[in-house]
Amino acid sequence: MTEPVIELAGVEKAFPFFRLSDIHLRLEAGQIMGFVGPNGAGKSTTIRLLMGMLRQDRGEIRVLGRSMPRDQAAAKRDIGFVSEDMRLYGGTTLAWHMRFVASVRPDWDPVYADLLLRRFNLHAGQAIKALSHGERVKATLLLALAHRPRLLLLDEPTTGLDPVARHEVLAELMDAVQDERRAILFSSHNTQDVEQISDAITFLDRGRIIESKDKETFLDSWRRVHLELPVSGAAPDLPGAVDTTVSGRTAVITTRTYTPDVHGACERTGAVIRDVQRMTLEEIFVATVMSNRRRQDA
């Protein structure tokens, strides 16, 4: 079995008003993992721990087989990192940045860099301070991709992008991971982007991982079941139910462990299933976060 690209075991990091607790996470080569959470959930903190920019209070972090933050310089040779709030030197050009990054990254591929320039419709001679937000994000992505890193850590890279720029960025990420040795950890609170490109998804809320599965398992196991209840009956207690809304003789039950057995369980209570709806990743995300918060607050 090959070593995972990312492995976090029991990682904790405390700040005065926020705590990242008991983080366990694995990312294998060839995977794109969507790291989804509301604002302030701890996505950026986790990614900065992976980059060695922060030091964990407890637990072990291994990235590309190296211990972080101790071996960060060596590990970062094979990491491309882009953050939504990352900026470049405003008084220079993209060409200057490309030359500078090429000078510190022996694996820099100038042909691929030129290809990315064209695909992203960027001009190397353009001053950084004259770039729009979308162009700046694409420029940082170009600088992160052109040395063909084995791991891409992307912290909300699509935030604030227009639909066309978002499409260009996501398409390039999909293309980058065609190489099966590569992996991407992609944080976002935009579930559409995550659903589009990820094959594994981790939900984070209030500094804790609350779910981590492959995307298909997520989408296949969550359902919203619409029921017509018997005259004097209560809503059935379905396995994995995270939310039940009853209005008169109609009930809507959201379950995280849907199987065809649910039909039998409903029929035994006299309830009639009117509809079973698949849920979008956004609906699953919201339901997961809300049920987790209800459980925490109870």
């Binding site: 310089a73 900026r87 940082t140």
Partner: protein, 222 residues
């Protein structure tokens, strides 16, 4: 590879500060050129030289350290194969070079002009003491910029540093070892002036050294 990162980061910062350095060199040369042309011109030239170095100090430290962090460009630098310790060493080295090289060249040029012109050589120890004070001020400002996350501490150091130069000059002019020899033809390096220069250098070097050690050992870089 990792060993070559520090020089590359230093070269990057020197490139980014090149216009500040060039501008200060030009301003300093103009100030020094005024020294031989009478008392008023010497006063204006000397003040111009000091102001030029103060401005260079502030612009270099604020742009290379404080602004880089504030603008989140530091995130880009730390995305490269560099450790926090290497980044700190490179930043301290680049900023020191960007200030010390012009400082050294301008100090040497001022000494040569004073020596070669009719300006009394007795002024040289006083001028060097003030210039070394500016060097210490640079290292203290750089140290504070390296260790603090906020902009207010560097701003406080700048305010105190700038005001203190205005107190240092009249204070030094009140020293018998300064005013007795100032108009003399020979530069007299008295022990109290040499001791003050030593203290200035010590304060600057210790402040920067402590800042580098502290920042290198800090668990969180961002």
């Amino acid at each position: 590879m990792s060993g070559s990162m520090v020089p590359r980061l230093v070269l990057k910062d020197l490139y980014l500060t090149r216009w500040m350095v060039a501008g200060s060199m030009a301003g300093g040369v103009v100030g020094i050129a005024m020294l031989p042309f009478g008392a008023v011109a010497a006063y204006v030239g000397g003040v111009s030289l000091l102001c030029t170095l103060v401005i260079l100090n502030i612009t270099v430290v604020m742009s290379a350290v404080v602004q880089e962090r504030k603008d989140k460009v530091l995130l880009f630098v730390l995305s490269l194969p560099v450790s926090a310790a290497q980044q700190t060493q490179a930043k301290a080295l680049a900023t020191t070079i960007a200030f010390v090289v012009p400082w050294l060249l301008l100090t040497a040029a001022a000494a040569v002009v004073i020596e070669a012109s009719g300006v009394p050589n007795g002024i040289l120890p006083f001028l060097v003491t003030v210039l070394v004070y500016l060097l210490a001020y640079h290292w203290v400002l750089l140290a504070v910029a390296l260790v603090t996350e906020s902009n207010s501490w560097p701003a406080t150091v700048i305010t105190v540093g700038n005001i203190s130069v205005n107190f240092l000059i009249p204070y030094l002019l009140g020293w018998p070892s300064v005013y007795r020899h100032m108009k003399g033809s020979a530069a007299i390096w008295t022990s109290d002036l040499l001791a003050l220069i030593g203290v200035e250098l010590l304060v600057g070097i210790v402040a920067l050294g402590l800042a580098i050690v502290w920042r290198t050992r800090r668990p969180d870089v961002i």
